[in-house]
């Protein structure tokens, strides 16, 4: 489907360059870095969900066996509250610093309070027990609506709702409003109005690799940091800022990364490890355990979303109203903004009003998770779309086609869409045999659609030609899902040489130019763009070298099949890349080309998922029995890894829909802090996940690429819920659709 005859390499499925190391255990991940004389760092974490820290006494820990350094927030500079760019999005460095080590208050169970470096992990762990912290326990607030209540316990006495003129501190950090037209008039025109409220729980990204870092501070004040991250340059920026260091004195080397899904775009351990190394004079390694990961990193927001939707009898949307409340965790900064911008983005609606609320809670500060904010919004909106289609007696895909955005539509968040593939994706879904396949008893089918903006941001790439004509390709973009293969495919295509001649590398912050994080579905799009640009520069240079060798004009030289081709009239033979490389010394020195850019024109991604489930009506247990993910990729560079994104995102969404949730007790203590009870899907919970790659090229990319990583997690929540509804006739508006909840709903029917 995606193979394009115009390309020799792009669109093929070669084996990834880093593959052999990963199937043999040789690939070095975050926790695989060891240094001579290395200490092990451990973090002391809050036993309370909300408390003032009255005092911390580390003296006994400091003199414990094997301990070389103990630190608290007092060892970090006191940063002013200041929003600053940190690669992907703005962060408040004061919040970030206090999340890494709490200052006056702990805001969630598991909040880091102090850190110890000792000669072994066991001794560090023992020393933590000797740190005496005096707490004054405060009431916890865990639910969004509770946190917004007038009498709610306030997390931050100095936080006032942004934009509100009030001197009363609030747990609502920010509000947002997105209006169009006149909703009163719009709803007055509607024949059918549906209004429903939806909730989604706190869920975790669930990467299998724990956060890990090894840091070494030299006597001259130069920090060397090895860690698993989605963006080495962001770790550098954040670490330098939090420690008050010059970014040029911090070197970050990204290891292989064992999954991130957004949560490895921030820092937890890195500044602490660097500081402990500075204090002890020894390298320090820190690795989180699974319990720490679930208690204190990641998760994405819980949400409460109300949707009111109006349509005419002939299936035209006329008005919509959305109220979206997102829990940010301990510090401001939920994905409320993108959630609000996404919620109506897929449809042409003449009148709407969206309101958003960013609410702090006594839970870990949320981190990005695949299309941040969008899955919750789409769960609500797409569920109402499905219900509306049923009420209007329309096929749910036809109903969406009637209202779908297309090129020229004004997006709900403001701008006009360029070429997009929502209509094509909907049509592909409708034509797919899955959509009309028969269903059995207690089985149901549902669809959901998803939208994500995708982003560009900064990337750079360098191509160094080796003396035999092979190429080393260097970028700073972490490879989480096979992007090195895509980068090599771009280079092979542009240089028209074999993929096998290209060695793509992910380098450290001192040996390659700046690259933003691998996130926002940007790497194949933006870093790919930089590779293409660098390759074009390289071809131009090689044509010039050949022209000089032959004594012809450079614009007479063609680049074909990996060689410079002279004008026929010259009587010369073509020069292969190997020949040009071999003679480089005499034609101007080593062959190298770089390109850097801030990529613009990231193309929006649309997906449609079809889900079949079977319910055991006596137990409320739901099994997904067939699933198809259809999405516009613009152009699939390595189709296997595009499919992989669709499949992986779909399954994360299925987990979110069916079983994943943070379960807290009333003191704010997470009860399910391991993989046993934080129930991510296992292999026999799932069928094969079929995929269809739709290709509506993104006009802003030389190969038409759209980001594909995030959209796939957006449609499943509503698709699963609708399938359950069609199987057993109950509409679940509160996730997860766990067996007790579904059984209770079936009973109540």
């Amino acid at each position: 489907m995606s193979e394009n005859k115009d390309y020799k390499w792009v669109g093929t499925r070669p084996i990834r360059p880093d593959g052999a190391d990963k199937v043999t255990g040789k690939a070095a991940f975050g926790a695989d870095k060891n240094l001579p004389g290395m200490l092990h760092g451990k973090i002391l974490r809050s036993p309370f969900g909300h408390a003032n820290i009255k005092s911390i006494d580390t003296s006994a820990a400091k003199s414990a066996p094997g301990v070389l350094a103990v630190m608290t927030s007092k060892d970090l500079p006191d940063l002013p509250s200041e929003m600053a760019e940190a690669g992907e999005s703005a962060v408040d460095f004061r919040d970030l610093s206090q999340n890494i080590l709490a200052a006056d208050k702990v805001l969630y169970h598991g909040h880091a309070v102090a850190a110890v470096a000792a000669t072994s992990a066991k001794l560090a762990q023992e020393a933590l027990k000797l740190i005496k912290v005096e707490y004054e326990e405060l009431p916890v607030v865990l639910e969004i609506e509770d946190a917004m209540a007038d009498d709610a316990p306030i997390l931050h006495e100095n936080q006032f709702t942004s934009g509100d003129s009030t001197d009363k501190p609030s747990n609502v950090a920010a509000k947002m409003k997105l209006p169009r037209g006149d909703i009163e008039k719009g709803f007055a025109e509607a024949d059918v109005i549906i209004e429903r409220e939806f909730t989604t729980p706190t869920v975790h990204q669930g990467y299998i690799e724990p956060h890990a870092v090894t840091a070494s501070m030299s006597a001259s004040g130069h920090a060397d940091v090895w860690c698993c991250t989605q963006g080495a340059f962001v770790v550098r920026a954040m670490t330098a800022k939090i420690l008050g260091m010059d970014v040029g004195k911090v070197k970050v080397t990204p290891s292989e990364i064992g999954g991130g899904f957004g949560a490895k775009t921030t820092v937890y351990l890195e500044p602490v490890a660097v500081k402990l190394s500075e204090m002890s004079g020894r390298p320090v390694k820190m690795v989180m355990d699974r319990e720490e990961i679930l208690r204190a990193t990641g998760p994405t927001s819980a949400s409460v979303i109300k949707i009111k939707l109006g349509a005419t009898n002939d299936g035209k949307l006329v008005a919509a109203e959305g109220t979206l409340k997102y829990g940010a965790g301990a510090y401001k900064g939920s994905p409320m903004g993108p959630g609000c911008m996404c919620v109506f983005a897929s449809y042409e609606i003449p009148n709407f009003l969206v309101r958003g609320f960013d609410v702090v809670l006594n839970k870990p500060k949320v981190a990005a998770y695949r299309a941040p904010g969008a899955p919750m919004a789409a769960f609500a909106m797409e569920s109402v779309m499905n219900e509306m289609a049923a009420k209007l007696d329309l096929d749910p895909i036809d109903f969406r086609l009637e209202n779908a955005v297309k090129e020229g539509s004004v997006a709900a968040y403001g701008p006009k869409f360029p070429a997009i593939g929502f209509v094509e994706t909907l049509k592909a879904a409708k034509e797919h045999p899955h959509y009309s396949a028969p269903l059995g008893k207690n089985q149901g089918r549902g669809i959901g659609t998803g939208f994500w903006f995708n982003v560009g941001m900064q990337s750079s790439a360098t191509l160094n030609v080796n003396e035999n004509g092979s190429v080393t390709l260097i970028t700073g973009s972490a490879d989480i899902g096979g992007s090195r293969a895509s980068m090599a495919l771009f280079a092979a295509e542009e240089l028209s040489i074999s993929y096998d001649l290209i060695t793509p590398l992910v380098s450290n912050t001192e040996e390659t130019s700046y690259c933003d994080v691998t996130g926002g579905s940007r790497t194949t799009f933006a870093t790919g763009m930089a590779v293409v640009k660098a390759a074009k520069n390289l071809v131009a240079n090689m044509k010039k070298r050949a022209a000089n060798t032959w004594g012809v004009e450079v614009d007479e030289v063609l680049w074909q099949d990996g060689q410079a081709v002279p004008p026929f009239s010259s009587g010369k033979n073509p020069m292969s890349m190997a020949e040009i490389a071999a003679s480089a010394a005499k034609t101007g020195g080593p062959l190298t080309a770089s390109a850097s850019l801030t990529a613009q024109g990231a193309g929006a991604g649309f997906g449609v998922h079809i889900c079949d489930i079977e319910v055991d009506p006596e137990t409320g247990k739901t099994d997904v029995i067939r699933y198809t993910a259809i999405q516009d990729a613009g152009k699939a560079i390595h189709p296997s890894y595009v499919e992989g994104q669709y499949q992986g995102g779909a399954v994360q969404g299925i987990g979110w829909a069916l079983n994943e949730e943070y379960v807290y007790n009333d003191k704010g203590v997470l009860q399910n802090f391991g993989f046993l009870d934080y129930r991510m899907p296992v292999a026999n919970d799932l069928p094969m996940i079929d995929t269809v790659i739709v290709e509506v090229p993104n006009p802003a990319h030389p190969y038409g690429v759209r980001g594909v990583g995030e959209t796939p997690i957006v449609p499943p929540l509503a698709a699963v819920a609708e399938a359950v509804n069609n199987a057993v006739g109950v509409r679940i508006c509160d996730l997860p659709i766990s067996p007790p909840r579904l059984l209770a709903a079936i009973d109540a029917k």
Binding site: S89, G163, Q205, A411, Y413, P418, V455, M457, T598
Partner: protein, 81 residues
Amino acid sequence: MLQVDLSVDLQQFSSGLESLQVEAANIRELLEQLDLRFPGLGKKIEKDMAVTINGVIYQDTLIEPIEDGSEIYFIPKIGGG
């Protein structure tokens, strides 16, 4: 002339004005012009917002040229996972 529409959140800088026309040949000039008319607006946009020119989103760039007659809208910067 460029047609510039302001979202509700930005209208606090423009005393509620929803749209205006501006003469500018690139994003830097556009933001300078906006800052002259409504102090703080251009800086706010440069710091927190992406610029859309005829629907195409431009984030973190000042040099992008803008053709006369283009429609301009500002949206919050977008990140992702």
